[in-house]
Amino acid sequence: MTIRKGAKPKLAVYLDNLLLQLRLREVPGDRIGQILAEVQTHVADTGLDPVDAFGEPGEYAATYAAQTPASRPARGWSHVWLRDLGVFVVGTTACSAVIVGVLQLTGSVHVTARLLGMWLAAAAVGMVVFHGVLGPLMARDTAGSLKPRTFTSRFMVLGGLAMMAGVAVVVLIGLLPTGPTLASVPGLGLAAAGLLAMFALVRHLSGDRVVDPRG
C-alpha cells in the first residue's frame, strides 16, 4: 500500500511504528489501512502530535487488537502447534527440495532415505526449541509482559530455522553413508515441487495486504 506521509517526519515515524505494532497483533490488513488513514487525517485536521492524540503506537494498536476478532488468540495451543508445524514443514521441505532437486539434476548427489529421516528429526527438534525457548522470548511486547504469540514473530523464527535446515541438508549430504537411493524421484520434479510450495507459502503469507481506503 501507499500511505501518503505528511510533511512531518514525526507523523511518518508514528505511522510506521503503528503499522508494525498492528501487524504484530495480527490486525487484518484492510483494517490497518483504515486505522493509518484515520490517524493521518486526524493529525492533519488538528495539528496535534500523534502521540498526544492517540497514545504510543503499541498502546493504540492494542486497543484495536482487543476488538478485532481475527487478532485474538482465541485458538488453542494444539491449533497453534499444528499451524506452526504446517508452515515449518512446508517452508523447510520447499527449501530443501529445491536445493536437493538442483543437486540431483546436476548429478552431484543422491538423496537417501536416511538423510530424509534425519532431516525430519531435525525439524521436530527445531519445533520444540522454537516453542519452548524462542517463542516466549519473541512474544514479549514493549511493556515486557507476555503476550500471545503472533504469527509474524513465529514466522520470523521459522524462516530462520528453515534456512538453517536447508544448509544442514547440504552439509549432511557429504557426511552420511549412502543408503537406499530415491533415484525414482526425479530431481526436476523435486525442485519444481519445492518452488511451487515456496511460491504458495509466500503468496499465502503476503495475501493480507494493507490498503489505503482513500485510493
Binding site: A37, E38, F54
Partner: protein
C-alpha cells in the same frame, strides 16, 4: 486542585459507560459527520479532553456492531475523510440506551439528593 482532579477522574469513569450513547446521539442530531467534527461537538457539549485515541476505536466498535456506517470521501485539497452515519439499528440502540441511562441517572440523583438532605452526623 486535588478535588478538581478527583472530579475529572470520576467523569472519565462515568463516560466510559455512556460515551457510545453520546456519540450515537450526536450522530443522530448532526447527521453524517467525521471523527474530528464529532470530537468538537462533544467537547462543546461539555465532554472535555476527548482524544482521537478514544473516539476512533469506539467508532470502529460501533461500526462492527452495525450501529453506524462509514464511507470515505475525498477532501477539498486535503486528505480524504471518513464520514460516519447512524444506522436504524444504532437509532434503536440509542433509544433503549438513553431511556436506561436517564432512569439510572435519576435513581443515582435521588440517592445523592437524599443523602444531602438527611446528611445528619451521628
Amino acid at each position: 486542585m486535588t478535588e478538581d482532579r478527583t472530579i475529572t477522574d470520576r467523569q472519565t469513569q462515568w463516560l466510559r459507560g455512556v460515551l457510545d450513547l453520546a456519540v450515537l446521539a450526536t450522530l443522530q442530531s448532526q447527521g453524517t459527520t467525521y471523527g474530528y467534527a464529532l470530537i468538537q461537538s462533544l467537547t462543546e457539549a461539555g465532554i472535555l479532553d476527548l482524544k482521537g485515541g478514544t473516539i476512533y476505536p469506539l467508532l470502529a466498535r460501533l461500526e462492527q456492531e452495525g450501529l453506524v456506517s462509514s464511507e470515505w470521501h475525498a477532501g477539498d485539497g486535503g486528505p480524504g475523510r471518513k464520514y460516519f452515519t447512524i444506522t436504524p439499528s444504532g437509532r434503536a440502540t440509542l433509544a433503549n440506551g438513553s431511556a436506561g441511562w436517564i432512569d439510572f441517572a435519576a435513581s443515582i440523583g435521588t440517592i445523592l439528593r437524599h443523602s444531602n438532605t438527611t446528611g445528619a452526623t451521628p
